[in-house]
């Protein structure tokens, strides 16, 4: 693995992504539509923190599937994947694209989270726990999303495959993420050590992605 090559991939992704904002626009539009629908349907009725936390992560999950499944699919459709396979090593591509996915999801969450808090009158008793939970959740989602995007691009039948494969992989991240987000909203007995399982699963996911991606790429 080479940090400069990862940065080279990341710079390319950012440049191309900023010039053609289809993926980020799709994610943003999905998040906006989902938030608007839920907000209008609830009409200001108060919700329990556990329901709010689950809603937040459902929106993040499905918004991410709208954008992340294009990570390799766009390259395959435009014929650049073949060129990449000649010149790039697997690990630089994996981590370059993964960091780009994390940046995209972080940008989405920067918009999504305050909008969610305002629209649902959501209490945040423990902001640091809330933020760290979101960050660790997004790391896991980016790692799994990048790997699954590569897998689904190699498949001959792609429709729906990305979401189907992604969900069971990110479930061990999502369950503690929903619980911690709910606890961060409600306050009470909560400690940063509760984030350790999420952090561990992120680490396992990144290592497993790194090992598996060599087989997919070559």
């Amino acid at each position: 693995m080479n940090g400069i090559k990862i940065l080279t991939v990341l710079r390319k992704e950012l440049t191309a992504g900023l010039r053609h904002r289809a993926a980020s626009a799709s994610m943003l539009m999905f998040a906006l539509t989902a938030l608007a629908c839920m907000s209008l349907a609830l009409g200001g009725s108060p919700l329990e923190p556990n329901v709010l936390a689950a809603l937040l992560w459902i929106v993040i999950f499905f918004a991410s599937t709208v954008g992340l499944d294009r990570i390799f699919e766009d390259e395959a459709a435009s014929g650049t994947l073949t060129t990449l396979k000649v010149y790039a090593d697997a690990q630089s591509i994996l981590f370059g694209k993964m960091i780009y996915a994390l940046i995209s999801l972080s940008a989405l969450s920067t918009f999504l989270l305050p909008t969610f808090i305002v629209l649902f009158d959501c209490p945040v008793a423990e902001p640091p726990v809330m933020l760290l939970t979101i960050v660790f959740g997004l790391i896991g989602l980016s790692g799994a999303g990048t790997l699954v995007a590569a897998l689904s691009t190699a498949a001959s039948v792609k429709s729906g495959l990305f979401s189907i494969l992604l969900f069971p992989i990110v479930l061990p991240i999502f369950l503690p993420a929903i619980n911690l987000t709910s606890a961060a909203m409600a306050g009470g007995e909560i400690s940063l050590t509760m984030l350790i399982p999420m952090l561990l699963f992120d680490a396992i996911l990144l290592v497993a992605s790194s090992i598996l991606f060599d087989y997919i790429w070559n």
Partner: protein, 202 residues
């Protein structure tokens, strides 16, 4: 560098493309692979670069007596093929720097490199989407030159090029062979075939 194919068999379903193919490719030589459409010219290039595994037989690359690992061979390979596209939303310079950067190569004399393949300083700043097919082919060739690979896999390199472009390509191939690079050409162009040191007819 030396690439040795021994008893290679490759089939797609019931269609057997190669059976018992044996060949050796050496540095400092150009080998042209010619044959009808569908004969397996591009596939043979992929096999030689280890982008494709044979069903049977072996394909090995050597540097002297030392066998090169798959990753080592990949790092020392450059390729040009009709199926290899560039990023339309990046400029020519951004494309070139990106692919060179993936090989840890910094291109200092960008103008000189573009001039070698017949592209102007103005072309450097254009988005690739604005390029003609021939200009894209020249840019792909500029990337091959930039990365300084030892093995060149060129699939129909003269495709979409004008007379000056084809002449430039042949001159650069001759220069690369002089620098002890191993060049494999999949072609149906008589001038490229004539310029090669060895010929494989499929």
């Amino acid at each position: 560098m030396r690439i040795v194919l021994e008893g290679v068999r490759l089939a797609f379903g019931r269609a057997v493309l190669f059976d018992g193919l044996t060949a050796t490719f050496e540095s400092g030589r150009t080998t042209a692979i010619v044959g009808a459409n569908g004969a397996g010219k591009s596939t043979l290039l992929k096999l030689a670069g280890q982008f494709l595994e044979p069903d049977a037989g072996s394909i090995k690359a050597f540097d002297g007596d030392r066998e090169l690992l798959h990753a080592e061979l990949r790092r020392r390979t450059a390729a040009l093929a009709p199926t290899m596209n560039l990023y339309d939303r990046l400029t020519a310079t951004e494309n070139l720097r990106f692919f060179a950067g993936l090989r840890d190569v910094t291109v200092d004399d960008l103008d000189g490199l573009f001039a070698r393949v017949g592209l102007t300083a103005e072309d450097e700043k254009k988005l690739v989407v604005e390029y003609s097919t021939g200009m894209k082919q020249r840019l792909k060739f500029a990337i091959v030159l930039a990365v300084g690979a030892d093995l060149w896999l060129l699939d129909e390199p003269g495709a979409n090029l004008d007379e000056a472009g084809r002449s430039m390509m042949l001159k650069e191939i001759a220069r690369a062979v002089g620098e002890r690079k191993l060049v494999l050409l999949a072609t149906n162009d008589p001038s490229e075939e004539a310029a090669a040191d060895d010929l494989i007819r499929l």
